[in-house]
């Protein structure tokens, strides 16, 4: 690990995490008001219909998450291959293209199973 990278990231993190102190200072600046209605979640002016922070939503988002996981891990395999391509030569390249063929087969399966169709 590069020590300066760790140090720099640490400094950024420390500075940004220290920012809540600044937020507390803003309490003493500017106007303030307090009422039950004011602290409600925004809902175009009517009373909120939505009490909880967590709720269910369309399962398609979850499926996209799974597809992403599959393809992104495959792409991560390809990064070390890409920078060493000149040493690996033609055979190494074709090996990875076979692997990419499997990736494309997976993509075709995704198309066929219609998970990307939003009707």
């Amino acid at each position: 690990m590069a020590p300066n990278l760790v140090l720099a990231s640490g400094v950024i993190l420390a500075l940004v995490v220290a920012l809540p102190v600044v937020f507390h200072l803003t309490k003493y600046l500017g106007a303030k008001s307090d009422s039950i209605r004011k602290n409600e979640p925004y809902e175009s002016g009517i009373r909120s219909t939505h009490k909880d922070a967590s709720d269910t939503f369309n399962v398609k988002f979850y499926i996209i998450g799974i597809i992403f996981l599959l393809f992104d891990v495959e792409i991560l395999f390809m990064f070390p291959w890409a920078i060493n391509l000149r040493e690996l030569g033609f055979f190494g390249m074709m090996e990875m293209f076979v692997f990419m063929g499997l990736l494309i087969a997976g993509l075709v399966y995704v198309y066929k199973s219609k998970v990307l169709k939003w009707t």
Binding site: L7, A8, F23, N39, P41, H50
Partner: protein, 327 residues
């Protein structure tokens, strides 16, 4: 680690932090002015000469606005989400060479905090972690607009992660290194990658719009549908952190595009350094130009574009590049 090294690193990162926080503010001024001129308006013009002090006025407003934690939110996660966006944006900057190495008063300055050999991976990886800001912020606020925005943000960001990775593979095959400095030096000898890899450049550029959540893909906080998306419940400086993170990301991705595809700072002369800044300014301007010229697309069109158009194109580009390199 000696003391001089630690001090140098800390000074560099603090300078980057201050410059790009300020640039985020000035960037909003330019955004409002450019959008206004393109729509035949005047934009900000009352505060200071040409409205230049509008940035300072907005800053004062952000700092003095009451910090509201609404009822029903998960307070801890709600508070930490904007911090993640801002922190990851600036952490990514640690591996970007902003200028070529130069000498001031006999002291050589390397305008890169950490010249690591996996620079490209580090920058893109840390930027990808920035997704947790919108994700946690939206899930923690008890607001349906924020929730929809979060679901969209997650699907857009992760889909275009795949495009970023695939489009970068072809240039990586040609250069054979992850270091942004090596990319720059390769282009000094062999010409810009923009000309040898035009398709990869266009794919990366489209993905950059999605990764920063800019207009044709601005579904995350699509104003007329979702109010301010995941930022609806935020006020004051907490919202400001989301904002600074977004604009800093725009500048950093412009730097990455200029370094990866458009020759970077060339041979490291003064002209090369100015050319790099010019390219970054151009890319930033295009972000604003597209916002003025283009309507937002629907979320399903976005997924269609990513998985059915851009991804096959990126794979074809890799195969062609491979065969051209071998024969």
């Amino acid at each position: 680690m000696d003391t001089a090294f630690i001090i140098e690193t800390i000074v560099k990162i603090v300078v980057i932090l201050l410059i790009f926080s300020a640039l985020a503010g000035i960037g909003t001024y330019f955004e409002r002015k450019i959008l206004a001129f393109m729509q035949r308006r005047l934009g900000p013009m009352y505060v200071g000469p040409f409205g230049l002090l509008q940035v300072a006025a907005d800053g004062v407003k952000l700092f003095t606005k009451e910090d509201i934690i609404p009822t029903g939110v998960v307070a801890k996660i709600f508070k930490i989400a904007p911090v993640i966006t801002a922190a990851t944006a600036f952490m990514a900057a640690a591996a970007i060479p902003f200028l070529p190495t130069f000498t001031v008063f006999g002291y050589t300055v390397h305008p890169i905090v950490a010249d690591i050999n996996v620079g490209v991976l580090y920058v893109l990886g840390v930027m990808a972690i920035g997704l947790y800001g919108p994700l946690l912020g939206g899930l923690a606020s008890a607001n349906k607009f924020a929730l929809i925005s979060t679901a969209r943000a997650a699907s857009v960001f992760i889909s275009y992660e795949v495009i970023t990775g695939l489009s970068l593979l072809a240039p990586l095959m040609m250069v054979g290194s992850f270091s942004l400095i090596d990319f720059n030096n390769y282009q000094v000898d062999n010409g810009w990658l923009l000309f040898s890899q035009p398709l990869a450049f266009i794919l990366f550029w489209i993905a950059a719009f999605a990764e920063t959540g800019r207009t044709p893909f601005h579904l995350v906080a699509n104003d007329h549908e979702l109010i301010d998306g995941f930022g609806t419940e935020y006020s004051g400086m907490r919202w400001g952190l989301f904002f600074i993170g977004e604009y800093a990301n725009m500048f950093f991705i412009s730097f990455v595009m200029a370094l990866l595809f458009c020759g970077g700072f060339g041979d490291g002369s003064v002209a090369g350094a100015l050319a790099l800044l010019g390219k970054v300014a151009f890319f930033f301007f295009v972000f604003l130009w597209v916002r003025a010229a283009w309507p937002d697309i629907r979320p399903d069109q976005l997924m269609w574009l990513c998985w059915k158009v851009l991804m096959p194109l990126a794979v074809i580009n890799i195969v062609i590049t491979g065969f051209v390199m071998m024969f």
